[in-house]
């Protein structure tokens, strides 16, 4: 058998080491449960060498499998353990793990072929695209003004009851928001503003952070200047126009 020629034709067709092994097993009509490791390893290595000759980049998976095969081969060449070895060790075939993987892989290769056939059959049925209808989201039905009133009354009453606590929704305050706030305040109210006075939304930590970044950004943009009369004292912002 001229292995080299046979491989050149099929060179790129193996998706991975398991696909290549399956091919070797099929080609040699080998019993998958009793793989002649020496023969298969030799053919496998020949294939890899052929790939090298054709400067095909060999995926690491192929090399890992080559090493595995060589390891199995060498373990099988070792003399049989003496009779007094515990039976559970005696019974382990070094090929077992590989065989299990091959059988598992073969199942899915067949399943893939089956799916391929099913897709082909399904491909005989031509479908069509959804018909474009003028899409208009319909108005809710069956609502009356009473529903609206009741909804409002419900929320208003609970609001009034809780109002004493000043219920404030958690608000994400952006630097952009604070830049607008500061400029608005400076323009509309005074030319001078203390930093604390800019915290007028929620006074939260996140607002303080946003405000501070906004001040830095406005300084960078040369829109405002700041003054601080003493260390840790109040920071005053003034419009630079």
């Amino acid at each position: 058998m001229n292995a080299g020629n046979a491989y050149t034709v099929r060179l790129e067709t193996f998706e991975g080491p398991l696909a290549l092994l399956m091919h070797l097993i099929d080609k040699n009509q080998i019993d998958i449960y009793d793989i002649p490791v020496a023969l298969v390893t030799e053919q496998y290595l020949t294939y890899i060498k052929t790939m090298e000759q054709f400067n095909i980049e060999i995926a690491s998976e192929f090399l890992v499998m080559a090493a595995t095969l060589l390891q199995i081969k060498s373990r099988m060449l070792l003399p049989k353990p003496p009779k007094d070895t515990p039976p559970e060790e005696e019974g382990i075939d070094p090929r077992q793990e590989l065989v299990d993987r091959l059988i598992e892989y073969k199942k899915f290769k067949e399943a893939a072929a089956l799916l391929g056939e099913m897709a082909e059959i399904r491909g005989q049925y031509f479908t069509r695209q959804r018909q474009e209808l003028a899409r208009e989201i319909p108005l809710p039905e069956g609502l009356t003004i009473d529903d609206l009133l009741m909804a409002f009354a419900a929320v208003w009453e609970s609001h009034a009851a809780e109002n004493a606590y000043g219920l404030v929704a958690r608000e994400e305050i952006t630097v952009q928001d604070k830049m607008h706030d500061i400029l608005y305040l400076l323009r509309s109210k005074r030319s001078r503003l203390s930093f604390d006075e800019t915290l007028l939304r929620s006074g939260s930590r996140s607002e303080m952070v946003a405000a501070f970044l906004a001040v830095l950004e406005l300084i960078r943009l040369k829109r405002i200047t700041i003054t601080q009369e003493k260390s840790f004292g109040a920071i005053y912002l003034t419009l630079k126009e």
Partner: protein, 176 residues
């Protein structure tokens, strides 16, 4: 008619194409003279007139197109209807606040409802029950929301003036 057995082929072609098919396209594919096709298509149109059928063949844009019968439009519109045409309680509450307090900002709605309303506002905007009505002259120039004509239709109102006087329905007066 000699070519009558091709009706199934024509139906399938028109079905799968979606687009109108020109007479010569069908004629090329089926290798049937165009004049025969015209007769076949006329016959198929008659077959489709049967009330047990839901489709019809129309001549458009220089071709033949299979489409649904116009009288079934009402049924077909239901295909596109989002499953919940109803408003959620959250949407209704938000809508109520907007209706009675418009124009109103998101922040103001949130301070009344005590929860974020971004998503709800999105829903109401999408369903065109509310719309943006400019911006408030305040810090951050927040968007103001108000109701639409669709809103009026939806609640059977003639104009916003028909919204009842709130105060008379509510136990508590109007805050601030």
């Amino acid at each position: 008619m000699f070519y009558r057995h091709l009706k199934g082929h024509i139906e399938a072609l028109l079905f799968a194409s979606g687009e109108p098919l020109a007479l010569n396209q069908i004629s090329d594919i089926l290798e049937v003279p165009a004049e025969q096709l015209v007769l076949l298509l006329a016959e198929m149109k008659e077959d489709l007139a049967d009330p047990m059928r839901g489709l019809t063949i129309v001549e458009v844009a220089g071709g033949y197109q299979l489409c649904t019968k116009p009288e079934l439009a009402a049924t077909l519109e239901k295909l596109d209807r989002p499953s919940d045409a109803k408003l959620s309680p959250a949407s209704l509450e938000t809508l109520a606040i907007i209706a009675f307090k418009q124009p109103i900002t998101r922040q103001e709605i949130e301070s009344i409802r005590g929860v974020k309303v971004d998503r709800v506002l999105g829903t109401l905007l999408e369903r065109r029950l509310i719309r943006e009505q400019g911006r408030k002259e305040a810090i951050g120039r927040p968007i103001l929301y108000g109701t639409t004509e669709e809103f009026l239709k939806c609640f059977g109102l003639n104009s916003l003036k028909d919204l009842p006087e709130l105060a008379s329905f509510l136990h508590t007066g109007q805050p601030e």
